[in-house]
């Protein structure tokens, strides 16, 4: 079994299997050889995606498209021919020929089998009932999420391994009760020892995931669809949604029928060669030294060795097996397991009450494994120590040192990004050899930190270290805990976090100085499309009482007047309220509204009630005013109906919160009386249409808004401005006004996104979902979030008779 060292014929390299392994083989081959033809055959009808992150999609409901490992252009740029949705029916190694569905044949010079695995299903009665799913591909994921969110009363997940627990958490995040049913007496027995496993069920229960151990499922019951599980011994669990996650079976049928040696998986040697000439295998379908690996880091190592072999470089480093390392991606549970979970010498640091368990396992004086639960500091250092078989004289001291280790203490081969298999040395090389200067550049080059995102902080620290501290300071949303908006967004999405306190519990953000709490509150609300759990202590006082605090501790009240248009009746009510409550000043604002200034906090609910107008959001980081000129209705110069477009826009956006305030304007002709050219979002009627502008300012600095596009109709103007608003809502840093955001993104890039139909459709869909959950905050006058939402302790509480509220006893006014 040798590889002939000759130039490849035109048929080139064929890779079967569009999973993480297949993709990694393609990438590693292309890195070594710019010219060899590569064909990737994918059975699934989609480009390779990151299956490891499926559980994130289950939690968030995001488009599976976001899991794509590479965009379509990448395959074009790298001249990789991709055959989607095609299955290989036979392989004849002696002819170097493959037979595809439909009768087509494909010749190869060298072949990589990356056929992956199939989910194991229990061969028990009822396993084929509707409502029973494996958890393997985006289709399963979507079906499970829809069932969990759409009325399933109780779900059961059979199998308490890594994937089963992530699936259960995803189901719980949809508000569905869920029980994990596990055959053994402890969860994740392959990665955890008994001590760590004991701490897991209580932590899971706190997240709404129940655990039933020592349960052997004998049958799945139900007539037309599943209604429960029956265990050995007759015990029963009601469940109208069942997910089976008991393990994988390597997909070897093609290899076996081709006469290639297979045991559980396709047997490979240290160069990933199979028994057939010029055929390698890598990933979950391969068996090396008796072991089939199902974790991403070993698969990437295998893919690199397989690629070297495919390129005729068997002189390279052989594959000697991997130290398995796994990370549980479940909100509120930090768990990392490396190598063996048990051994002859074990050093344990545990605090059951705090849910912390840290263990280093030593055999023959060398580190062979680690389990970190609740406090995963030093995971990279311990992984490196186990991989290197580091000599450990004092395990307890080594464990403590790992917790304190910084990026400088890690060896170059310490794996930092498990999703993309990037080690510290590669990150340092990107800075020192490739001249990258910012974390962003390094991430783009090495792909470190671009998977699940959990290693991003470490990547940033290493870049800073390698660049001698010259690396530009990332824009931290929480400087105390060094968390960027991107880090936090990844955690909120990945873990399904729904409130500021959940984020705080997850990573400490917001607990130290508290200054970032409003930014966190916005992020949590935006990512959850306003279906988050609102916590007012995270809000600035303006957003607790929906009014703008003034220098003397009083507040200002600005009711909504769409497009700056009002009526005699509204004006009368405003005048009545101003008199009745001794409002010291009534002023017309720059945004064409009326402002009641100097209002006492405890008078706010009654004033809102008597005004009978919705909040104008003049106090909030939100969509504020849409200023209009009189336009074609009355103006003799008016080209367009600016008043009505302004009102339409304001109604469409009303109530949405934004990273910073958004002031808008619509002018009916280029004379621009509504000053739309210096607004965050401005629309100006021009001959034949509407000019849409973004990023303007007329404050401390003046910036003319950039022209995004000129569109023909009012409807298109509303659509395009809305697309931009949503893009800004999703991508700006907190307090970043559009006049900073637009130049940061760049007008060209911005146009590419907001003028692209596919992006438009997605942004509008998310906009609609967010908008559907909006309500008028001033309605809290009748339903305060707390009896003392609007009162200090001297006054009667809000829910007591309003007539009793007298003047304040002094002080805060």
């Amino acid at each position: 079994m040798t590889f002939r060292s000759r130039e490849p014929r035109r048929a080139g390299i064929v890779v079967i299997g569009g999973g993480i392994a297949g993709q990694a083989v393609c990438e590693a081959v292309r890195e070594r050889d710019r010219d060899v033809p590569i064909t990737l055959i994918c059975g699934e009808p989609v480009l390779p995606y990151d299956r490891v992150r499926l559980s994130e999609i289950l939690v968030s409901g995001e488009d599976p498209d976001t899991l794509k490992l590479r965009p379509p252009e990448w395959f074009e740029d790298n001249r990789i021919e991709v055959r989607l949705g095609r299955w290989v029916h036979w392989c004849r190694p002696d002819e170097r020929l493959l037979g595809l569905d439909g009768g087509e044949t494909v010749a190869y010079d060298r072949l990589a089998l990356a056929t992956g695995s199939q989910p194991l299903m229990l061969p028990i009665p009822g396993a084929d009932l509707p409502g029973v799913y494996p958890f393997r591909d985006p289709g399963d994921c979507e079906a499970i999420r829809l069932a969990a969110a759409g009325g399933a009363r109780h779900a059961a997940v059979i199998g308490g391994g890594l994937l089963g627990l992530e699936a259960a958490r995803g189901i719980a995040a949809q508000g569905c009760a869920v029980t994990v049913v596990h055959l053994l007496d402890r969860l994740m027995e392959r990665q955890l020892d008994a001590g760590a496993a004991r701490l897991l069920p209580p932590a899971l229960r706190a997240l709404g995931v129940d655990v039933a151990l020592r349960k052997s499922t004998e049958r799945i019951t139900g007539a037309a669809r599943v209604d429960g599980l029956e265990f050995t011994g007759g015990e029963r669990l009601d469940a109208d949604l069942v997910v089976m996650s008991i393990g994988i079976r390597p997909e070897v049928s093609l290899a076996r029928s081709a006469g290639i040696d297979c045991r559980r998986g396709i047997v490979v040697d240290d160069h990933m060669r199979t028994s057939a000439p010029d055929v390698v295998a890598a990933g979950e379908c391969a068996e090396h030294d008796g072991i089939v690996y199902g974790l991403v880091a070993p698969i990437l190592e295998q893919a690199r060795v397989a690629a070297a072999t495919l390129c005729g470089r068997e002189g390279g480093p052989p594959y000697r097996g991997s130290v398995p390392s796994a990370k549980l991606k479940v909100a509120g549970i930090d768990l990392v397991s490396v190598g063996d979970a048990e051994g002859e010498v074990e050093a344990v640091a545990a605090d059951a009450e705090a849910g912390v368990y840290r263990k280093l396992i030593v055999r023959g004086g060398r580190a062979v494994g680690a389990v970190l639960l609740g406090d995963t500091r030093g995971a990279e250092a311990l992984l490196a120590a186990v991989q290197a078989g580091e000599e450990v004289a004092d395990p307890l001291a080594r464990l403590a040192a790992a917790a304190a280790a910084g990026p400088g203490d890690l060896p170059d081969d310490a794996q930092i990004c498990n999703c993309n298999g990037v080690c510290k040395g590669a990150i340092v090389a990107a800075v020192e050899q490739d001249g990258c200067t910012t974390p962003r550049e390094v991430m783009a080059r090495t792909r470190a930190g671009t998977g699940c995102g959990s290693c991003k902080t470490m990547v940033i620290d290493i870049v800073a270290l390698a660049a001698g501290g010259l690396s530009d300071e990332p824009h931290y949303l929480c400087p105390c805990r060094k968390q960027t908006r991107e880090d936090l967004a990844a955690q909120i999405r990945g873990c399904g976090l729904q409130s500021v306190s959940e984020v705080a519990a997850h990573c400490g953000t917001g607990r130290d100085c508290g200054a970032c709490k409003p930014a966190l509150a916005y992020l949590v609300s935006e990512i959850n499309a306003n279906r988050h759990r609102e916590e007012r202590d995270a809000r600035f006082i303006n957003d607790r009482v929906h009014a703008n605090i003034q220098k003397d501790g009083t507040f200002s009240v600005v009711p909504r007047m769409y497009g700056g248009v009002t009526t005699p009746d509204e004006l009368r009510r405003i005048a009545d309220v101003a008199e009745k409550y001794d409002v010291p000043m009534v002023k017309v604002t720059g945004g064409q509204r009326l402002d009641l200034l100097g209002v006492r906090k405890q008078d706010l609910p009654a004033i809102w009630r008597e005004l009978g107008m919705p909040s104008g959001h003049a106090y909030a980081k939100a969509v504020r005013t849409v200023k209009t000129c009189v336009g074609s209705d009355f103006c003799r110069f008016g080209l367009g109906d600016s008043v009505n477009l302004g009102i339409e826009i304001e109604r469409a956006w009303e109530g949405l919160y934004t990273p910073a305030k958004v002031k808008s304007g619509v002018s009916g002709c280029p004379r621009n009386c509504a000053e739309a050219t210096v607004k965050d979002i401005g629309v100006v009627a021009v001959e034949g249409g509407w000019q849409v502008r973004v990023g303007g300012a007329a404050g401390a600095s003046v910036r003319e808004a950039d022209i995004l596009a000129t569109v023909a109709t009012k409807a298109e103007a509303l659509r395009l401005t809305t697309v931009f608003l949503q893009y800004y809502r999703e991508n700006a840093d907190y307090l970043e006004r559009t006049y900073d955001f637009v130049p940061r993104i760049g007008l060209e890039r911005l146009r590419e996104i907001v003028l692209d139909e596919q992006h438009q459709a997605q942004l509008l869909e998310r906009f609609r979902i967010a908008k559907a959950a909006v309500s008028d905050p001033w309605l809290e006058r009748d339903e305060p979030y707390h009896p003392r939402q609007f009162t200090d302790l001297d006054e009667p509480a809000d829910d007591e008779d309003a007539a009793l509220v007298g003047p304040p006893s002094g002080g805060a006014r």
Binding site: C513, R536, D537, R539, F540, R544, G553, P787, L793
Partner: protein, 109 residues
């Protein structure tokens, strides 16, 4: 010691103002306990009870000066603010106006 309010009168993570013994005081209920400071920020009189509270500090809503809840120390520069002792007796929040707090005795909220 003066009975200022009941525990439920202040939402978790927020503050409320009250006049006790002629002095305007801000009472805070943080995840780490109860605290009392003078209500007026020493900078320009901002209402500290309306500030954002973290585990151990409050930020004035007017110009973002930050104070340690336990000691009243100005954490972002400027003058410190006076502190008062708080004790929780059952459901009652008791304040020792003018006496700095003694933390060993204080019950956690």
């Amino acid at each position: 010691m003066i009975h200022a309010c009941n525990v439920d009168d202040v939402p978790m993570g927020e503050g409320r103002a009250i006049t006790l013994a002629g002095r305007r005081i801000a009472l805070f209920r943080s995840p780490t306990g109860w605290y009392a400071l003078d209500h007026a920020c020493p900078h320009l009189g901002g209402p500290l009870a309306d500030g954002i509270v973290s585990d151990c500090s409050v930020i004035c809503p007017l110009h973002a000066r930050r104070f340690d809840l336990a000691t009243g120390r100005a954490l972002s520069g400027g003058e410190d603010v006076a502190t008062h002792g708080v004790e929780i007796h059952g459901n009652r929040v008791m304040v020792r106006v003018g006496e700095p707090p003694v933390f060993a005795d204080r019950e956690a909220a």
